[in-house]
Symmetry: C2
Subunit: 529 residues, 2 copies
């Protein structure tokens, strides 16, 4: 997730009791040493053409001005780099001027980052220039990087010496504990790879919090957390990390109590001045799912009101329809994320998200023995469902239309919210799956843009009883990322347009992104029960 919202003079409200508990839940970080398993040189600075190198030759491989060395650490890792640098020739009479480029995806190595001009800050590009005054030297870089490939370019030496990279290693960092992984038997080789890649994606995003991506934004987003938590229950089961994140969202909120879309944790905990309609509702969803796993009464007592507040606020953003239903206002719908799809009309999907979230919120109310709230929620949910059918259902086209627009997103969320009857859901999802009638056009005009939305598509297929299609889609969509060389699942991926970036440049994409890790959860929960 990455999104820019700016509220002038924003001062979040912090709840010390919740933040103190979040701080107590800070996870220990685990470390291991990763070393390169291969190496090569790019023949030209920005050319993908490679010349393979035998790693054993590194201590004899001299890098002169303009030359590069690329090291391959075998798979995606997150951690701190240490280089042992030496030289050949005369005693160095000038500093070594070195550029380091850390790449999650091999294609990044041959990109000229000077040319990046997208809307997300170039400060996210993982590259450093450094001067080494004294050689030999052992240098540990202070920043954490997420990468598989490291490109070392000798920007300048002097005619008197060349650089030798004697050794490189990475002290990896994660709060995930591999010893906690269940033994799973997955017969199908593709499913096995999907599962393992999902687990690696999740693990590399598990740090001090569930980060959205360890390269970018390295931050806790509510919508991402909900999916990470689900994957975590199926794998590492480090439920205290979920709890910590829920307390962070509860502990720093908008004035008035809204849950922010994102919470910063450094240098101190502070809600971002970004609010997303759907993300705030996922707080209730994630809390309920956490309680289903843990029965944690403390969390229920501490966070119940926060969850209910989000639902109640979303309902206050609705108006009565002529037929007594409830309809989300256009204005409120603008603040929903749903997906990166360009020009997407989001009102139908956003209204469905309220209905969906109420399902979880009602379970929370019952767990809290708050039956009046539970029945109030049922009432609201019914009004919202009625409103949705009344305003968005188009009997002629036999689909939900959001302010004049037919998109797959509207159908997916309506199905997830149980707005159509089960047989209608199956019919609707079946037509999307087959890309027939209105959906032929809708899918090409308003395609699913992110693995995040593809996840909800798979969940909608499952909700509609189309288990085989769900599995097929997971295998084909996430499988195509594997075919394209993914070691961890990517933030954004369109098999038809492999270089697309919602950010204006692939070099700024995050190639290990938590919201894409869900095959780890789908496979174990739905396809290998």
């Amino acid at each position: 997730m990455a999104l820019i919202s700016i509220i002038k003079d924003f001062h979040p409200h912090n709840y010390a009791k919740l933040l103190d508990k979040a701080a107590e839940l800070a996870p220990p970080l685990h470390h291991s040493i990763a070393e390169p398993v291969g190496g090569f040189k790019l023949k030209e600075r920005y050319s993908p053409e490679k010349e393979e190198i035998v790693l054993q030759s590194l201590p004899h491989l001299a890098l002169g001005k303009g030359e590069n060395l690329c090291l391959d650490f075998g798979t995606h890792i997150v951690g701190y780099l240490t280089l042992e640098l030496s030289y050949t020739g005369s005693h160095p009479d000038a500093p070594a001027y070195i550029k380091l480029k850390f790449a999650e995806n091999i294609a990044e190595l041959s990109e000229n980052t000077e040319e990046y001009n997208g809307w997300i800050s170039r400060s996210w590009i993982q590259e450093e220039y450094m001067h080494v005054d004294v050689l030999p030297a052992q240098i540990t870089l202070p920043r954490r990087y997420a990468f598989r490939y490291l490109k070392i370019t000798m920007m300048d030496t002097s005619p008197k010496y060349k650089l030798i990279v004697r050794h490189a290693e990475v002290r990896t960092e994660t709060s995930s504990d591999a010893k906690r992984l269940p033994q799973v038997q997955i017969a199908d080789p593709l499913d096995k790879r999907l599962y393992e890649t999902g687990v690696r994606t999740l693990a590399n995003c598990m740090q001090d919090v569930f980060e959205d991506g360890p390269k970018r934004d390295r931050r806790l987003w509510m919508g991402d957390l909900r999916l990470q938590a689900a994957a975590n229950y199926a794998t590492f089961r480090q439920n205290d990390l979920v709890k910590r994140c829920l307390y962070l969202f509860g502990g720093s909120r908008f004035p008035g109590g809204r849950v922010a879309a994102c919470v910063f944790t450094q240098p101190t905990v502070q809600a971002d001045d970004t609010w997303l309609f759907d993300y705030s509702l996922f707080f209730a969803v994630a809390l309920d799912e956490y309680l289903q796993e843990t029965d944690d009464t403390e969390a229920l007592n501490d966070l119940y009101d926060v969850a209910m507040q989000q639902i109640e606020m979303s309902i206050r953003m609705c108006e009565e329809t002529p037929e007594g239903g409830l309809l989300l206002t256009k204005d409120a719908a603008k603040d929903a994320f749903i997906d990166w799809t360009d020009d997407l009309e989001k009102r139908a999907a956003a209204q469905a998200v309220i209905i969906y979230a109420i399902r979880y919120a009602r379970r929370l109310a019952r767990r809290k023995n708050d039956y009046s709230q539970a029945s109030w929620l049922t009432e609201q949910q019914e009004k919202l469902r009625r409103g949705a059918q009344e305003i968005f259902w188009d009997a002629e086209q036999k689909c939900y239309v959001s302010d004049g627009q037919v998109s797959p997103h509207s159908q997916i969320w309506m199905v997830l919210a149980d707005v159509p009857a089960p047989e209608e859901s199956a019919e609707l999802m079946g037509r999307i799956c087959e890309e027939v009638d209105v959906f032929a056009k809708a899918l090409s005009e308003y395609p699913l843009a992110t693995p995040y939305m593809h996840h909800y598509y798979v969940m909608a297929l499952l909700r509609a009883g189309l288990k085989e299609q769900a599995r097929d889609h997971m295998r084909s969509y996430w499988g195509s990322m594997l075919d394209a060389g993914a070691d961890t699942f990517w933030e954004t991926w369109d098999p038809k347009d492999p270089n697309a970036s919602p950010y204006g440049g692939a070099v700024i994409n995050s190639y290990c992104h938590a919201w894409s890790c869900t095959p780890a959860f789908l496979i174990t929960k739905y396809f290998y029960e």
Copy 2:
């Protein structure tokens, strides 16, 4: 000084006893805090046009993408930078990507260093790119810089925030002890500025050793040391630092015993594989001058043989002339530095340097009661003088001609070596001073290129008894650097071509260079006796 020489498989010979003593003499480093005294913004990134800033406004001065802030520390300083960085706007959602450029000379600020393509490594350009992940932050950079101006450019932020530079300070570093400076009364304002600028230049080069320049090469060169030591006797009188440097040159030498032109001290002491004919002879000169100041018997006993060896080796590079004189071979002369002047024929000057050095070496021999060596040296000196007169003196042009070339350099060194009789020296130097007959052409074809050579020109004028001309030249040459804005004296300076660089780019020049500090010595020793 900066020069590139490469000897394949060079292994210097180290003398542990001498290096141990050098290590014991490592000076304490003194620190103080320097803060900016002014600030401005460059209107465009590479434009010299400025917009002044009131320093008190810094905490409110927000730097967005592409904007810069320049801080002026008032004069040339050497040390470690600490920045206190903060932000304005929303909580930073991306690292701050910052470029720092440290400039000794204001002109460097508006140079595009990407365009530098000279023969010295661009790694000497004092600039850093850095990512700051968490704001606010206090950052101390690990490298030492030499500068007066600091340009901070915000390479990228995000739309959510701008950078604030709340405070900047520098922990200066020098081994010079200002408390040791004598009280000198210099009535003339220009002389006073020349003296003070020379002292500042020397002080900023006094570090763990006498560095040639604190920006570049930060290293101990023999020819530079000889002048620094002379200036030190007239100012800080930190004679142990001279002793340490002499022991370093004695302690790591070429196989066979030659004194290297330069000694590295990091990570361990190691002679550079650069040998300069004249620089090696200055070892004897510098040792004798040190002993005149200190009567240090230990140093005499430890280093006497090293000094004599240099003289003896230079004599072995000579051949007998038909008339029984000695003449340096052409080959040996090629290894002399003398000056940066292009196409300079160096044999006459190099031969004169032997004769000159023997004057000092003989005094060493007498101090050591080594009378047979002293008389052997006298004999050699006489033969070299005879050879010089026989081969280089041109009776028609009434000047010394080196392999067909008339240059001021040849005359200057012959005068310094007392090769002409005193009245001839006065006549010769007078004609150079007035730029008449052959010298009109010679001075424009083979001009003095460096303050180092200008120093020896002043010394030759003094040797020839032309004290007034000597003072005038010092005042006009070094004075023109002050007029051009020097806070410390520059490595290279041609008043007629202010942007000249022997290195292919002014941005790589050293604007605080020890071999240029000698007004501090000339004024107190010759002009305010």
